[in-house]
Amino acid sequence: MKINRNRTPQGVLKQFSDLIRQRKDIRWLLFWLAGLLGLWLWDSIFLNPLAYELIRSAIVHTFVGASAAVAFSLFIGWSAGIALYFLENGRARSIHLLLMFFLNLIRSIPQIVGLLIGYIILTLLIAFGFLQSPLSQILWMAFVISIFCSLEVLDLVTERIMHFRKSDYFHAMLCCGIKESRIINIEILWKNSLSHLLHKLVSLFGVAILLQCSIDFIISVGLSTDVSLSNFPVTLGSLLAKLDSKQDILALGSMLVEPSYASRILFQHLQGVSVAFVIVFTLLCVFQIADGLVRQYDL
């Protein structure tokens, strides 16, 4: 007896609903996308065009920056993990020690301090005529974030290699003359660690958004009178720091003393509420997606 797959529209619908019911990660991913779509529709109807354009840009810049930070983290973490493994097992022990020292140095710097340094360098680069386009500025900050986030990828990559290095299949492949770099990159990391890496990258997406919003908010509020972010691409963090956004957030507090004010929140204070909603809602969904991946792949 074979299990038949129902290809009728009703069957496909049922399979889809089963998938959503069984897979928490997909359920929350769809919920997140639906939430953003709902917000976009609402804002396009009720928000003034100027603020709408600001929010649209802030969301795009933030998500592009976070995605780039995740991609850079993967590349840096994976490369550093491989380099550490081969340097440790090869003859270049001094280079291994030097790399370890450098990585531990990064580990010792608080992330937010590291990002502040990254902004200082960015300002200097702009002053010297480099990184003039908004995209290059976003990618620079994504790179700075990834320097700190990539340590988590590095730890995961190292842990996976160490785990499988003891296994018979690692030795069996070595004894068949298969190159060690292929065993590490393809057999261990690609074929056996993809779900672990996916989970880590989803979590890092949330971390990158939080870090970017935090640092942009801090800088925009103003730690120094010498640095101005007025020419930097707008992000959710910098938009949240704007005076009118802050007033919108404060307006939420008014509901405590005057509950009837709630009806005006979603119309008159849409800019700040939208920004806060995107940040909080995204972080919540990213957490739930990551949790869903843990359950799905028994991580």
């Binding site: 007896m1 299990i3 018979d168 069996a172 068949c176 298969i178 074929k191």
Partner: protein, 507 residues
Amino acid sequence: MNMPTFNITIAKHGRNLVHVDDFRIDENKITFLFGESGIGKSLLAKAIYGLLSPDEFTITINGEPYNRYREKEETREIQQSSFFMFQEPSSHLNPLLTIGSQLNEGSLTGRLQDSGILQRLWEMTDAVDMKKMLGIYPKPYRPSGGEKQRFLLAMAFLKIEMMQESIPEHIKTFFVFDEPSGSLDNHFRDVFLSVLFEKFQKRKFTVLLITHDYSIISAVKTAGLNILNDISYKELSLKHNDLTLNNFKSEHYMSWVKIQQESKKTSVPAGARPPLLHVESGLEVFGRRLVISRDRKGGSSCPLEIHPYSMVYLKAASGVGKTTFAKTVMGLIRANHLKIDLNLHGTDITLTEDTPRRFWQSSVWGKQMAITFQHADEALNQNSTVRGTLSGLPAKKSRAENIDRMMNGLFEDSIDEIFLKKKVKYLSGGQKQRLNLFRSLVLDTDIIILDEPLNGLDFESIKRVLSMLKEKQKSGKGILLISHNEEIFDAIVPQENVYYLQASHII
């Protein structure tokens, strides 16, 4: 009441795991069920016994949902009157109770004192030693696998005694022994068989004995002379994703072994060519000295030599360190006093514990020597595909042409694009083992080390693997065989190529 014929389907997560029609176990007979590992023998036996969880599997038996089957009076009768001995002894014993308490639990309470079953299975008369053994809490490495297995056998035999004394003959019985000799050496396997046959002669009952050790047939012929008519051999095989249960002719196996022995007598000796590999005896690893000798008692040590055109067989009792020895010779485990002389394309080189790993990697592994590890499940990347498992092997133009021919020789009709794209974890145990062997055999190395190469294979696959090994031997390769399956390898390896491994603790 007769055992019915079963049509069984077992699925998990919408994927068909096992489907068999006309699965029938003979009533009041001892049925030996062969078949390659992972094909579904244990799963079917557990399904019939009502042991599988309906929450985990979707099962139908004779068209009925599994819940209804489990609630049937006949199923309950089997569970109450009989015993299911699991394959893995550790999973069956409770680590929080002493062995003695477990042998006195539930319906077995009080039976152990009057029964001499433990003494029979241990061949032991000293009550003090047995008392000490019964006070042990089972842990992964204590007692040994063979001892754990014998405790489970003792439980099963106590249950058989109970059934014979108190359960009316019309009540259905169904005793399942899943790989009962998997952790036993040949001697204790024979002891188990003789106890089983004695009990059976006292009053007949239905037994399903699952195994892939075909050499048990010879032991049965010796121990079960009086009940040969009550013994049947069946083999489960996979054809086009469906299982079929066929009668297996024991004469088929016996005559094949005889032919192998005859052909060994007529085979041409390896000659006086210089050895491909020469390993000095006495290497020290994990606190033990491994000594190689020519006689079973380990009288005088000698080096192990593998010549071109030869098969060498290394024997040792379970737990001595056969696999450790193989891994050491391959340079995977560091050992003291390691001295290996290797003939590398006409040049003799010596490998010791100080030989750097990069030398093994650049000149030995996959180039001069290859090894097949014992457990295919652990030696293969489960998340790789069949094709992926073979990619990355050292390139050689001639090999590509041989791959298809050799694969067809080893896998018969199962080679197609679907098979090549299949993930290793979805292959049967026998297919995994063949793939595991194939990966080493396809290489053009002069020396091939095979650790338990026949593990989990059915009879047809055993024949195919051995014929491929003989082909390799004829082409000038040297093969080192490490196995507990003495009957088959004694039949194909000349006595002068048999070595014994002994271990002694370093003080």
